[in-house]
């Protein structure tokens, strides 16, 4: 490392601390302050640390709404990601292995799914017709519909690298299509599956707009929506608002620490193909 590289690195780090780390430090400091100091909304050291008190206040607020929200968000995320893996891999598999006119149709749908913004009110109309509006399973299916395009794209490009000989061998041994898929192909897709789980679960957990439209009602609250409930309720209680922000930020942070590599793989998928 040259002296120039070292000097540039130090300057860049200083900038990064000011621009990227201070906002997170601010969230943390605000979340441990007491009510009156937090109301100043300034960047100061807490005079009184009340991490635990704020934590339990936020959790118990509005009859433990945050816990319910965590539960709902977890159910939606796990359900939707599981279906996205299964459905996405099945489509990607057939798309890669069979060449026909349908491929163009499927590929067109994938592009449409990536580009077109969902039509909100007509979707509510469809959901109501199917009795899925304001239900958790309806929300899961919505997330599946919106996430499928990405998941098919990711799987189909990976399945192209798995030799056909493997399916052939299994077929000669007498395996049926479903057996080939579940016993041979799906286990081989593990690297992509991990990437997909990480990227999609963060996206669905952080989703605000779709639950806002399709999942109204107190019983159906999700994690991102609690931020707004708290904002109006604690207009002057900034310490609790920021504690809530902190609690919402922690799950992605944990995922990021453990799955950094898979996130990078997923986010750059298709970027360098050219």
């Amino acid at each position: 490392m040259t002296a120039f590289q070292k000097r540039t690195g130090i300057i860049a780090t200083l900038f990064a601390v000011v621009i990227f780390i201070i906002p997170f430090l601010f969230i943390f400091l605000m979340s441990v302050k007491d009510k009156s100091q937090a109301s100043h909304q300034d960047f100061t050291w807490p005079e009184q640390w009340q991490l635990w008190q704020n934590f339990s206040d936020v959790i118990s607020a509005r009859n433990y709404m945050l816990l319910l929200a965590y539960f709902n968000s977890t159910v939606i995320t796990v359900g939707a990601v599981a279906l996205l893996i299964l459905f996405g891999a099945m489509v990607g598999y057939v798309l890669q292995r069979r060449q026909s006119g349908w491929n163009k149709v499927i590929f067109g749908c994938v592009l449409a799914g990536l580009i077109i913004p969902p039509a909100v009110v007509p979707t509510i109309w469809v959901l109501q017709g199917l009795h899925l509006f304001k239900t958790i399973h309806g929300m899961i299916l919505i997330q599946v519909a919106y996430g499928l395009a990405f998941s098919v794209l990711l799987y189909s490009s990976f399945i192209a690298t798995i030799p056909r000989d493997l399916d052939e061998a299994a077929r000669i041994d007498g395996a049926r299509p479903l057996q080939i898929f579940f016993r041979v192909i799906l286990p081989l897709l593990k690297p992509v599956t991990v990437t997909l789980i990480v990227v999609q679960s963060i996206a669905i957990f952080n989703d605000f707009t779709n639950p806002l439209y399709y999942l109204p009602g107190k019983q159906n609250v999700t994690v991102q929506l609690t931020l707004f409930n708290f904002q109006s309720q604690f207009q002057t209680q900034f310490n609790l608002l920021f504690m809530n922000i902190l609690l919402v930020t922690i799950p992605p942070l944990i995922v990021f620490i453990f799955f950094n590599r898979q996130i990078v793989a997923g986010m750059t998928a298709g970027a360098v193909k050219g």
Binding site: Q5, K6, F43, P177
Partner: protein, 286 residues
């Protein structure tokens, strides 16, 4: 008897059912409902009335302009800063790995959390932005309270949150460029700046296409950050199409809201399709 294919089409069926009913059907139905007065139960055909209303109400048309400004601005700044950061973070500087992590992390954080945090930091008198500026003698503006500035302040936060993804894509793009090009350029006596313009920029094109397209689509659809920071205000000065759609929906004007959706759809199609076509055509020329 014809041998059954080991790749039966019914594998596509579960995905197709969900995608068609919950995505394609509403998208197509939107075109019909945008021509109606609609309360979710009965729809009365009123022709182009919703669109006429949309383009005659100044605060609705403004939303269209804001959407364009916001999308173009965030997309352009993300690709410029993304490329510069990617070059910096692949040049072997001190603490490179740490810096990559720090720049990327905001991408994963809740948009609403970021929006609420920055709306406190941008408070006209108490916020860290203006307190910081005051220490060097600058009287900071009302970032979110000044109607002529609010949209740009939100775009700035969008850049802060999204630049990490652009950087990541550019880093992958830079890694795909063979070092031979740089060596050849050096032997020919090219300076660092010439190398950047003559080698890096042209050869990192695939990444540029991805970054510009992704962030343009994202910017045109953008809703949650704006909603968290300004709710389209002050007045209607930071309203974009997506927030107009939500407001009309809340007010019960379902037909008008859906017309907004159709306009957003057409806007994205009209911008993104020619852009992709242009990018692909240029590729052939090279």
């Amino acid at each position: 008897m014809q041998r059954r294919s080991p790749y039966p089409y019914w594998f596509v069926l579960p995905a197709a059912v969900v995608f068609v009913t919950l995505f394609l059907v509403p998208t197509v139905a939107a075109f019909w409902f945008s021509l109606t007065r609609w309360d979710l139960y009965t729809a009365t055909y009123i022709g182009m009335e919703n669109f006429r209303q949309f383009f005659s109400e100044p605060y609705l048309v403004q939303g269209l302009g804001h959407t364009l400004i916001y999308a173009v601005l965030t997309s352009a700044t993300k690709s410029v800063f993304g490329l510069l950061l990617a070059v910096l973070l692949t040049s072997g500087i001190w603490a490179q790995g740490f810096l990559r992590t720090v720049v990327f992390f905001p991408v994963l954080v809740s948009t609403i959390g970021v929006g609420l945090t920055f709306s406190v930091l941008m408070h006209p008198t108490k916020g860290l932005f203006n307190v910081g500026l005051a220490t060097i003698g600058i009287h900071g503006p009302g970032w979110l309270t000044d109607a002529s500035l609010a949209l740009y302040s939100v775009a700035l936060v969008d850049l802060w949150k999204g630049v990490g993804l652009a950087t990541l894509i550019y880093i992958a793009g830079l890694a795909a460029i063979s070092p031979d090009y740089y060596e050849a350029a050096r032997i020919d006596g090219a300076t660092r700046i010439q190398q950047f313009w003559r080698v890096t920029v042209p050869l990192v094109r695939p990444a540029t296409v991805t970054v510009v397209t992704l962030s343009l689509i994202g910017g045109l659809r953008s809703f949650d950050l704006i909603w968290a920071m300004t709710r389209g205000g002050p007045g209607f000065s930071s309203d974009v199409l997506a927030s107009v759609i939500y407001k009309q929906y809340q007010a019960g004007f379902y037909g008008l809201s859906t017309a907004g959706n159709v306009i957003l759809f057409l806007l994205i199609a009209l911008l993104v399709l020619p852009l992709t076509w242009w990018f692909n055509r240029r590729e052939v020329d090279l």
